[in-house]
Structure formats: structure tokens, C-alpha cells
Amino acid sequence: MKNYKLLIPIVAFLLVSIFLYKGLYSDPTNIENANLAKPFPQFQLADLMDENKLYTKQDLLGEYTLINVWGTWCVTCRVELPFMTQLRQQGIKIVGVYYDNAAEAAFGELDVRNTRKDVTQMLAQLGNPFQFNIYDEKRDLSLDLGVTGAPESFLIDDKGTIIAHRRGAIDHRVWQNEFAPLFPSASGSQQSLEQN
């Protein structure tokens, strides 16, 4: 074989195959997150229900907290609300970050009162897991968190470090596998959940 150029296609193909092989065994939905093990970003945002009440990062510290990015427009969020309400009953602190999908759409002037009405109605219907909801009106916090959609959940420890990140709904299985083991008293919350 004198002409080494002819080997280029087969070599390129074999290289690609190696990656295809490796790719087979990694979960495509589990996109790595650059935020993991980093501190939760600083913010100062109003309560969804009351624009005069402001929250900062300090309000999230002190205990393990689940931060859930959601919206009433998001169908999957609807699905996880009942389960997360159960979690709240187990004593887990859950804080919502409300992501308004309509902000850019031309619904005329964005009226937060309509949003509030929708939120109240939906939470009354499906259960309210949230201690409070942060209204991420300009989406700055979501941007800092690298949110790509809703729902997304972050678990932060008592010092405000992100220790888990989930894109997509949290259900019983996901909670048991990815979140529950991270709690200092992991066994306690696990058992009580299984009784449900």
C-alpha cells in the first residue's frame, strides 16, 4: 500500500467509533453541570406574591434546601408538585424560583397579578411544596444558575453550596437515588418516604 492518503477515511471512522462506543454508556440526559460544588449565586429578588418582600442568598442558608425552578406554564412541573408537597411534609425545605415564560411574549404589559392568580390556583389544586417563591422577573438568577428549562432543581447544603442538580421532574425514584443520600440524616428521610 503506497498511498497512505487512502487510510484517512478508515482511521477517521475508527476514531469516531471509539467515541460512539463510550457515548453508549453515558446517560445523555445527564448533562454535567458546571455549578456543582460551587456556591449558590448571590441575588436580591422579590417574593412572587409580594413585591415588597425581598430575599437574598442569606434566606436559603442554615439548612439543606431544595431550590426548584418552575412555572405554571410548564407541564412537567405540574407532575412533580404533588410529590414535592409530600417532601415538604417530611420536613424538607423547598424554595421555588418562579420563571415566567411569558415575559418576552407580547402579552401586552406583563401583569404579575395574573401570574399570581394562576400560581395560587395551581398550588391549591396540586399541593404547595414551597416555603416561599422567589420571583425571577428578569431571569438573572436563572441565568446565573445555568438553567436551560423548567423544572430544574438544585440541592444546596447549609452553607449554600450546590450539591445536586437535576434537569427534569423529581419523582420518588430520582429523589431516592440522587438527592436523599446527600442529606446528613439520609436514612431518616428515606424511610419515612417509603412509607408513603
Binding site: 487510510l7 477515511p9 478508515i10 471512522f13 467509533s17 457515548g23 445523555p28 454535567e32 402579552f107 392568580k117
Partner: protein, 672 residues
């Protein structure tokens, strides 16, 4: 009983495929006439067996046999009969069965229409296609058996077909696409057989051309249908999303486009031989790669089928055998292929070479864009995502040199030409280009540089294509291939115009609106008249009615939101008023409080031109296949080799074009 017969047919066909891959190949190499003679009977038997298997599965679907797991998972007794039949290829197992059936159809086609070729050559080609079939049959039988039963406990009713797939566009989109994908296996088999046999002459290229063109035509039709389906079914008003699975179908298309051009050079001038072989291998390899990407769940996509590493591993091993084998053979044997033809710097050969370079560059960009996120993650650099903005940007620059070369190409002579000879001809296109661009700028407010440039270049191209047709048909009637080529190029011009204008001039408005209210978009007043509840065969729906008017033009539109109870899935059916110059498009969003609905109203100028372009390309490929030059050349060969098969060959060409023209009729109905 029937599912067992189907399963049994699959098993026998697997054994036959193994025989087909082995004996005729040995026969051709060792000159054993009996082995060579085995090839065609095995091919026909395989086709018959797989037709039986396919029929058995369709029967199970038609008669709601929910004791078959695959039927229970993908059908439902409420489903109308035509969706029950199309549900056969609605999920992984059945679509693979369709894949192998289509492969056996193409193989039988090659066997049937190759009477004038050397028996040994045909035996090699058929053996290669048999080798391809082994892998897919094994895949169906061992990992994805559609005939598996649910006994002893079987469900009363099935889980229903994915609602997204319950649509006329989706009934014919996958078969078209598969006809294209699998059709490239013919060119692949011809190339591999030529490498094995060491014969790479003009006959080889001439034989590959109609097969490649028909596969390319099917693939074009399939992609066009898919794009059109996404446009009206997904409710986003988009027509191409650069989704990994779309890319998976686009890559073989690009390779196929390059292949049909380089085959022309190989046939007519005897140049680019080794390159053409590589493209023929690539086009089918990319089809297989696409299958792998879709079926292994390796990439995240709206299209994703089953994600199952064992299935993925199976296809990967198969890819290594087929693609790896072919490319190794290429590395080993291709230096025997010498192109003796010489040409000068300014000649049609060189322009076609630039065409190929540009197409391959586009191919590599799409391939990298699709695979890079995967590679990036696997080598530990973290996740990245490459999406529409990247591809849009690259393709908006890429098309400039491509159109320039494409416009000039047909005017330039083979071997050697002077630019001064064609310079004045090229000026012909400038006047219409400027007029059209000015019109677009003034009436449609198209003001971005790339869009205007797109319109200018595409109009220039179209004008030159028409001018070339007129001047060259003056003296003597043009062959159909020439018309086909011109149609294909006009199709590309229409596509570029459609994209350039739609991208910039589309206006959409999302509003909260109640019946009785109206909204205005671009001179069109949308009156929301009423919402009705509607009960379909297997879904319930809201129909929102709109009266739309811009003064001179008044019509009503119905946008739909369907709820499929079996999948608890909500689907949007957009209300569309289609026109050559603009589409009016309404999609119904969520029901808000009280009577209000979220509604998106769109005015999309020239969006039809995108699919018109695809349609013209398909028509072009049909005209090329119909050309009698392939038959003439064959007849000449027959006299030479004294083989009595002229009528067969005629029938061959006719049958191929018959299939293809049926497609077009199908398409035309859809477009109106």
C-alpha cells in the same frame, strides 16, 4: 398463528441472507458458476419471506391482535385503520422490519434489472447487499423482535400510537426516508463489488447513476415531507431545527448530492474514480450512522427511539463490520483505481470538484456539529450544546460560494474552457436579480445583508438556469437528464429564496385572546369567532375558529388542540392558510383563565418555497432517471455482449420511475 409465521419467515430469511453473502461471493471469486447462479433465487426468496413477515405484522395491527407485545404497545382498537397500518413502523421494532423489507426490495430490484450486466459482477453486488441484510436481520431477530407475544396475560386494548405519529405526513415520511437511506446501499454495494472485482470503469458509474438518483430522490422527498410535517404538526411554525436526528438524515443527503455530481464526472470523463467510490461508501455509511444515532439513544432528541445500550452496541459492531470493512477495502484496493483523464484549471471538472469540496465541507461541519457535543463530553471537557445558531451562521456563509459555482458550472465545457467565453452569459442574470432584490427590500422589508444576498444570488442562479435551458434547447432537443439537472438547480434556488425570505420577513405575535376579540398581524386581522369541543375517534379536541382578512383576502381558519387519552398527551394542529407568497399560520396555546386562550398568529411569506424547492429536486431526479440514454447505452452494451435482455432493462427503468412518480403524485396532493 400469523405472528409465528412472520417470525419463522424472518428466521429463514436470516439463513438465506447468510448464504447470499457467502456463496455468490465465493462463486464470483473462484469462478464457480453454480454458486454465482444461486444469487438471484436467494434474493427473490428473501424478498418473498420478508414480505410475508411484513404482511403478518400488518395483519396483527389491522386485526388488533394485542397478544403481540409490539401491537399492544403501539396500537389501540380506537385507532382508525390507516393509522393502525402505519403504526407498523411507528416504533423501533416495526420500523426495523420496514428497513430490512425495503433493503430486500432494493436488492430484488438490482437482481431484476441487471440482466445486461456480467453475472459475476451482479453476484458480487448482491452478496454485498446480502451481507448488509445479515446484520439488520440479526438485529431484528435477536434484540428487537416485533412478533414477541404477551402470553399468557394479554391486554384487552393497546396503549395507542404516539399521537405525534397519527398524521398523514407521518404515514409516508418514514417509508420515503428509508427508501432513500437503504437505496444508497445499492451504490455502496456497487462500489464495494467494484473494489473487490477490481473493475472500476465507466459502466460501473453508469449503472450506479440511476440507482443513486432514485435513492437521492426518495431521501429528498422524505426530508421535505418531514420538514413539512414538523411545520404544521409541532405548532412552532418552524421547518428545520438542526435536531441531531434531522442532521442524521441530512448528512447522507449531502453525501448523496456530492455523489450524484461526482458520478457524472466518473461516467462521462473517467475522472474522480477513487473519490466517487469513497463517496458511495460514505453516503450509505452515513445512513447507517444516522440509524445508530437515532436508535442507540446516544443523542438527546425529540425523535429519540428506544435508548438501550445493548441495542446500540449491536449496531456499533455492525457499523464496524460494514463501514470499517468497506473503508479497509478502500484503503487496500483504491490505489489500483487510476483516473487517466486530464483537465485544465478552468473546466467543468474543476467546478464540479469545487462543488464536491464544498459539499464535503458542509458534511463535515454537520457531522462535527452533531458529534462534537458527544466527543467534548467524553474527553472530559464538560457538556456543550451546538444548535441552530451555529448551523445557521455557517450555512449562511457556505451558500455563497456554492451558488456561485453552481450558476457557472453548466455553462463551462468539459476539459478546458475560457472565462471570457461565458462572461457575457453570466451577466444575463444580474438584471432580474437586482429587480427582485429591490422588490424584496421595498415590499417585504428584507434588510439583512445575508438575506438580501441570498435572494440576489438565488435569483441570479434561477435566471441563468432558465437562460441556459433556452439557449441550449434552441438547436436540438435536450435530453431528459439536462432538464432534470436544471429542475434540481431551480429547486435549490427556490429553497434558498424561501429560507432567506422566511427567516427575515416572518412576523409572529403571541396574544391572550377571547372569542369575539381580534388581533392584527401585518395587515391581517384575525377575528377569534368561537371555540368548539370536538370528539375524534381516539381523542377529544378544542377547535378554535378564526376569520382572517386583510381587506381583499378573506378566509377562515381552524386551529386545534387535541387531547389523546391513552397517552394523556396534548397535540397542536395548526390552522394554516397556505399560499405561494405567504402562509397564515395560527396555533392554539394553553387555555388561560375564563374564556381566554394563548394564541400565536404568524404571517410567513414564501415559506412554501422551501418545500417547493424540495419538490422540484425530486422531480428533477425523476426526469434524470427517466432519460432514455441509460437504456440506449445499455442496449448498445447488450449488442456487444449479446445478452438478450433489452426488454427487461426497459421495464427496469420504467418501474423505477413509476415508483418515483407515484411519490410525486403523493407529494403534490399534500402540497395543495
Amino acid at each position: 398463528m400469523l405472528p409465528e409465521i412472520g417470525h419463522f419467515s424472518l428466521l429463514i430469511s436470516f439463513v438465506f441472507a447468510i448464504c447470499l453473502a457467502i456463496f455468490p461471493m465465493i462463486g464470483a471469486q473462484k469462478k464457480i458458476v453454480e454458486f454465482v447462479a444461486l444469487a438471484k433465487p436467494l434474493v427473490y426468496a428473501n424478498f418473498a419471506l420478508l414480505s410475508v413477515a411484513f404482511f403478518c405484522l400488518s395483519w396483527a395491527f389491522y386485526h388488533n391482535d394485542f397478544s403481540v407485545t409490539y401491537v399492544a404497545m403501539n396500537s389501540n382498537s380506537d385507532l382508525p385503520w390507516y393509522y393502525r397500518l402505519s403504526a407498523v413502523w411507528g416504533a423501533h421494532e416495526g420500523s426495523l422490519l420496514l428497513w430490512v423489507w425495503i433493503l430486500s426490495l432494493w436488492t430484488a430490484g438490482v437482481a431484476f434489472f441487471s440482466a445486461s450486466l456480467d453475472d459475476e459482477d451482479v453476484a458480487r453486488v448482491l452478496a454485498v447487499m446480502g451481507f448488509i441484510a445479515i446484520g439488520f436481520l440479526a438485529f431484528v431477530i435477536f434484540t428487537s423482535n416485533p412478533f414477541e407475544r404477551t402470553f399468557p396475560l394479554y391486554p384487552i386494548d393497546g396503549r395507542d400510537l404516539n399521537p405525534l405519529l397519527q398524521d398523514i405526513g407521518l404515514i409516508i415520511h418514514p417509508p420515503m426516508l428509508y427508501m432513500g437511506y437503504v437505496g444508497f446501499s445499492v451504490a455502496f454495494a456497487f462500489a464495494v463489488a467494484a473494489l473487490i472485482g477490481g473493475k472500476l470503469d465507466a459502466t460501473w458509474a453508469r449503472w450506479s447513476r440511476p440507482w443513486t438518483l432514485s435513492a437521492w430522490g426518495f431521501l429528498t422527498a422524505g426530508i421535505t415531507l418531514g420538514s413539512w410535517w414538523a411545520y404544521y404538526e409541532l405548532g412552532w411554525g418552524g421547518w428545520w431545527f438542526w435536531d441531531p436526528v434531522e442532521n442524521a438524515s441530512f448528512m447522507p443527503w449531502i453525501a448523496g448530492t456530492a455523489l450524484i455530481h461526482s458520478l457524472a464526472v466518473t461516467e462521462k470523463r473517467g475522472a474522480f474514480k477513487s473519490w466517487t467510490v469513497l463517496l458511495a461508501i460514505s453516503a450509505f455509511s452515513l445512513s447507517l450512522l444516522g440509524t445508530f444515532l437515532v436508535r442507540s439513544g446516544i443523542l438527546v432528541s425529540v425523535h429519540a427511539f428506544a435508548s438501550d445500550p445493548t441495542r446500540g452496541l449491536f449496531i456499533l459492531i455492525y457499523l464496524l463490520a460494514v463501514i470499517g470493512g468497506a473503508l479497509t477495502l478502500y484503503a487496500w484496493r483504491a490505489d489500483k483505481v487510476v483516473s487517466t483523464h486530464r483537465y485544465k484549471l478552468f473546466s467543468r471538472e474543476v467546478l464540479l470538484f469545487i462543488n464536491n469540496v464544498l459539499l464535503v465541507a458542509a458534511l463535515i461541519v454537520v457531522l462535527l456539529g452533531t458529534l462534537l457535543p458527544l466527543v467534548h463530553k467524553e474527553i472530559g471537557l464538560g457538556s456543550i450544546s451546538i444548535g441552530a445558531p451555529f448551523f445557521d451562521k455557517v450555512s449562511s456563509i457556505w451558500f455563497i460560494p456554492f451558488i456561485l459555482v453552481l450558476s457557472i458550472g453548466p455553462f463551462v465545457r468539459w476539459k478546458q474552457d475560457r472565462f471570457s467565453r461565458i462572461r457575457n452569459k453570466l451577466l444575463v442574470g444580474i438584471v432580474p436579480a437586482i429587480i427582485v432584490a429591490l422588490t424584496c427590500y421595498l415590499t417585504l422589508q428584507i434588510n439583512t445583508f445575508f438575506s438580501l444576498l441570498g435572494v440576489v444570488l438565488a435569483t441570479w442562479l434561477a435566471a441563468l438556469v432558465i437562460y441556459e435551458l433556452i439557449t441550449s434547447s434552441k438547436n436540438n432537443p435536450l435530453p431528459l437528464t439536462h432538464w432534470g439537472m436544471s429542475l434540481g438547480h431551480l429547486g435549490f434556488a427556490a429553497l434558498v429564496i424561501g429560507i432567506a425570505i422566511t427567516k427575515v420577513a416572518s412576523v409572529d405575535k403571541s396574544v391572550r385572546i377571547s372569542p369575539g376579540q381580534s388581533v392584527t398581524v401585518e395587515n391581517y386581522v384575525f377575528n377569534f369567532t368561537k371555540v368548539e369541543q370536538f370528539q375524534g375517534p381516539n381523542y377529544s379536541a378544542y377547535h378554535a375558529h378564526f376569520d382572517v382578512s386583510n381587506g381583499s383576502d378573506t378566509f377562515s381558519l381552524k386551529a386545534e388542540k387535541r387531547y389523546y387519552k391513552m397517552h394523556s398527551n396534548v397535540m397542536t394542529e395548526a390552522g394554516i392558510n397556505a399560499g405561494l407568497w405567504r402562509d397564515i399560520y395560527i396555533s392554539l396555546g394553553e387555555q388561560l383563565d375564563g374564556k381566554a386562550w394563548a394564541v400565536t398568529a404568524n404571517v410567513k411569506p414564501f415559506v412554501r418555497w422551501i418545500w417547493l424547492g424540495g419538490l422540484l429536486m425530486v422531480l428533477g431526479s425523476i426526469m434524470c432517471i427517466l432519460d432514455k440514454r441509460y437504456r440506449k447505452v445499455l442496449a448498445w452494451r447488450e449488442q456487444k455482449t449479446a445478452q438478450p435482455a433489452a426488454s427487461n432493462t426497459m421495464a427496469a427503468e420504467n418501474a423505477v420511475s413509476k415508483v418515483a412518480s407515484d411519490t410525486v403524485i403523493e407529494q403534490r396532493i399534500k402540497f395543495e
